[in-house]
Point group: D2
Chain length 135, copies 4
């Protein structure tokens, strides 16, 4: 069991009817995607072709920020607010979609972009799965 799973398991109050598996998957996807995007922006910066990777760097920096904020909001279970959760998940899915599309453009040239694109797709999907379960 991951630490994120253990923390969810030991939360002392009710989780408020949220789908625990989808929540956990989404927290873990956001944390993973935040790190990957920080690393991909930096890898882009070290490429000889950095001038062609401006959009990719910017997109990854945004995605890192939004994924980390989303991972934090989802990690909090006290006084759950469905409206805020939904808005944050929508923003995260949108940002991951944009970053996944951009990284995919460079996936054949840069292995870090290929990996990052996949991670963004997974995170977008995890956000949409959780959104779909919120009712």
């Amino acid at each position: 069991m991951t630490v994120a799973a253990q923390m969810l398991e030991t939360f002392p109050a009710d989780l408020g009817g949220i789908d625990r598996q989808k929540l956990l998957a989404c927290i873990e996807a956001c944390v993973e995607c935040g790190q990957a995007c920080t690393a991909c922006a930096d890898a882009d910066l070290s490429e000889e072709t950095v001038a062609h990777l401006r959009t990719c760097i910017r997109s990854c920096l945004d995605c890192a920020d939004v994924c980390e904020a989303t991972g934090r909001v989802l990690s909090r279970r006290t006084a759950y607010d469905a409206t805020v959760t939904r808005a944050v998940l929508e923003a995260c899915a949108t940002t991951c979609r944009a970053c996944g599309d951009e990284c995919e453009r460079h996936a054949q040239m840069h292995e870090h972009c290929r990996i990052c694109a996949e991670v963004c797709r997974r995170c977008e999907q995890a956000c949409r799965d959780l959104l779909g379960s919120l009712g």
Copy 2:
């Protein structure tokens, strides 16, 4: 002129047709609101009545995270993406609305909540003004 204004002024490329005044106001509101919410969550924590302020603390922690992420996304002007900007602004306005509502409930008891509620209202409005101008 604030530092944020100077940074916008010296950006070396086109701002992409965005309303410069509304953009600057929104960046500054997000940065201000992020700091105020961090401080309000902490002030709540030092109140004798902390047990009655759980929702307020959680709401302020979320708002700090979302405002800071939004302030960062808006501070980047390279390769502007209107779809991402819009989604992030919507999430920020929603989070500020929820936090402003919650802090307002404690505004008569706690001066820090009164101030924080006002800052959240201003930030929500700045996000909506910028959203309205994006076309």
Copy 3:
């Protein structure tokens, strides 16, 4: 192989003589500790005895912020600066030590504090191991 490991593996330039295993372990520990501390602060907030957990909440919030910033700095390998890396690692080890000590005080009462204390210890150790290898 984790995503963080893959991102390190595909970094397009030299890693600057840093110990790759210790670096990876430290990035992963920082990311894990950041999430655990956010969740532990929130779990504390939902405890009936929240008034006795003020120090723990504050300590976890600080630790989350410092671990996430450290995880980001370490995830960047372009133009490596040993002085900055060392200072950030020292701050992270110190913050994890303080948070681990505080969480340990509540470990018998609260399972989330027991887990969080262990994660903080691991992260502190990972920071010190990496520091020791920087020469």
Copy 4:
């Protein structure tokens, strides 16, 4: 009075003997520097000479992360821990020094680097002033 000043003014407990003016100056410098460094990294990215600005971008991204984390730690006054505060301030001063030095190298070419260098110098000084007053 700034919002940060008002939040400090309305903190409901003792500030723990810290120099209030130096604390406020440091919080405000960290918040300002975090935003400026995010904007400077992005402005660098839009320069034609982006390939010569790799170190500057990386340095600004680190500085943004460390300044924001420091601003948050300082904004919390509950259960003050001098050891953590000192370590975080040392890391922030070191990071601002490195970023100020790097941005200064490009100050004659890029106005955003000149402004960012000044902001980094101010923030470094504010951290050292607060450190000096902690006793």
